[in-house]
Symmetry: C2
Subunit: 248 residues, 2 copies
């Protein structure tokens, strides 16, 4: 059961991303596609894919839509610790842990593939390139997490939001989700506030500052970055943490 033609079908973003991590042979691609097509699922905005405390027994690949990982304190303070974008993987290998320490919620309508643990382990055992690519996914998400730590710990609000926008843009680009200098930003300002550790009010003012500086246009859930280099400078953005694949 092949997907339509050469565009990669429903899993195009996944293939693009994997190829950026490790070049896939036709055989690799076919094996991955097969596993994906066995477990296609959908979720609606606000729906939890994983809830803190769950045990999990599968790996999920996001075909389309945005999700976020988040943790909440007893008194309700919430922090989004990462976004999960098309082509990215939720918690590969995480079935090895007893329980999950955070929740994953769909921000938009989401299509994803659910690959059961046993199936996933077969795939990894049979195909070394895919195993390495999945491992890189895990390592990359750690690298992003580290960058978020310095973002929250050492960048001021203006830089922080600028940095988040640079990162999202650079993560969406390799999966073909940017159009010129624009990309979708299908989350509310409250979500952005919870991702940047700011209050909604201050986030709103910071975005207005970014607009006033002529760095971005944000309207109708679409982010346009007028001058990416200028935005990166403002954010002290250094992209090396995202481009971590080892050229063969």
């Amino acid at each position: 059961m092949r997907a339509h033609g050469t565009d990669g079908g429903v899993a195009q973003a996944v293939f693009r991303r994997f190829n950026a991590l490790r070049p896939l042979s036709d055989e690799d691609t076919a094996a991955l596609e097969h596993a994906i097509l066995e477990g296609l699922l959908r979720a609606g905005p606000g729906e939890d894919l994983i809830t803190e405390g769950d045990r999990i027994d599968s790996v999920r690949l996001v075909l389309s839509g945005w999700l976020f990982r988040h943790k909440t304190l007893e008194d309700g303070r919430r922090q989004i610790v990462n976004f999960i974008l098309p082509g990215e993987t939720c918690d590969s290998h995480a079935y090895l842990l007893s329980t999950i320490d955070h929740s994953i919620t769909a921000a938009t309508p989401v299509a994803y593939a659910d690959i059961k643990r046993v199936r996933f382990e077969q795939l990894m055992a049979a195909n070394r390139t895919l195993a390495e690519a999945f491992m890189c996914e895990t390592l990359l998400s750690s690298a992003i997490q580290r960058e978020w730590v310095i973002n929250l710990g050492r960048r001021a609000a203006f830089e922080r939001v600028a940095h988040l926008f640079c990162e999202i843009f650079e993560r969406l680009r390799p999966v073909g989700m940017v159009d010129g200098n624009s990309c979708a930003l299908p989350v509310t300002q409250m979500d952005l506030a919870d991702a940047t550790g700011l209050s909604v009010v201050h986030l709103n003012r910071t975005i207005q500052e970014l607009r006033a500086s002529g760095l971005i246009v944000l309207k109708d859930r679409t982010l346009t970055i007028s001058d990416l280099e200028a935005l990166k400078n403002a954010a002290m953005y250094s992209p090396n943490y995202l481009q971590l694949y080892r050229a063969k």
Copy 2:
């Protein structure tokens, strides 16, 4: 070449930690010990084990001493993104990535084992339990990283420092590095400030607040937690992110 007796020898902390992740058979233990003893090395305080931008080709296990991972912005602002404590692993699998996005520096004299990539891959291929344990190490360090994101993003200074102290204590406990309700804290207040995203001055005042609340004693690089439950409450600490191993 066995280590001395039943105490695990120089690598005692490593074995304790691995056993907490995955119970090791005698055979597992022997294989791991063998690999460790082949590559014993030392580093002094301030010495870099890994510098941002390096390519790496080995995995390191910390036998004794503290290190920290850190990232620095162009203008010198520094963020410690994690501590690496005895028994823990630096970047297992990270040789898959092209370059490393952060530096690792010794905070104290450190003894560690350097296992070359090829050797490490042999070990993983030959021993599934060890492979899973190393994978868990990677996943756990991600979980800690996520917790640090919420710590920096949503906890106030007092809670934040309290949380860090709870976490360090709970990470040192399973490797036998706590003594009653005390543990070593062999880092400067500047390091703690860079780990919590605070200024040194404010960190100092926060520690004094914690002392005044009777929650901790911190003197001569020794942290004593008078009432761990009270400290956890103050920090809104929930330990589940550290206890992630799946009972067999």
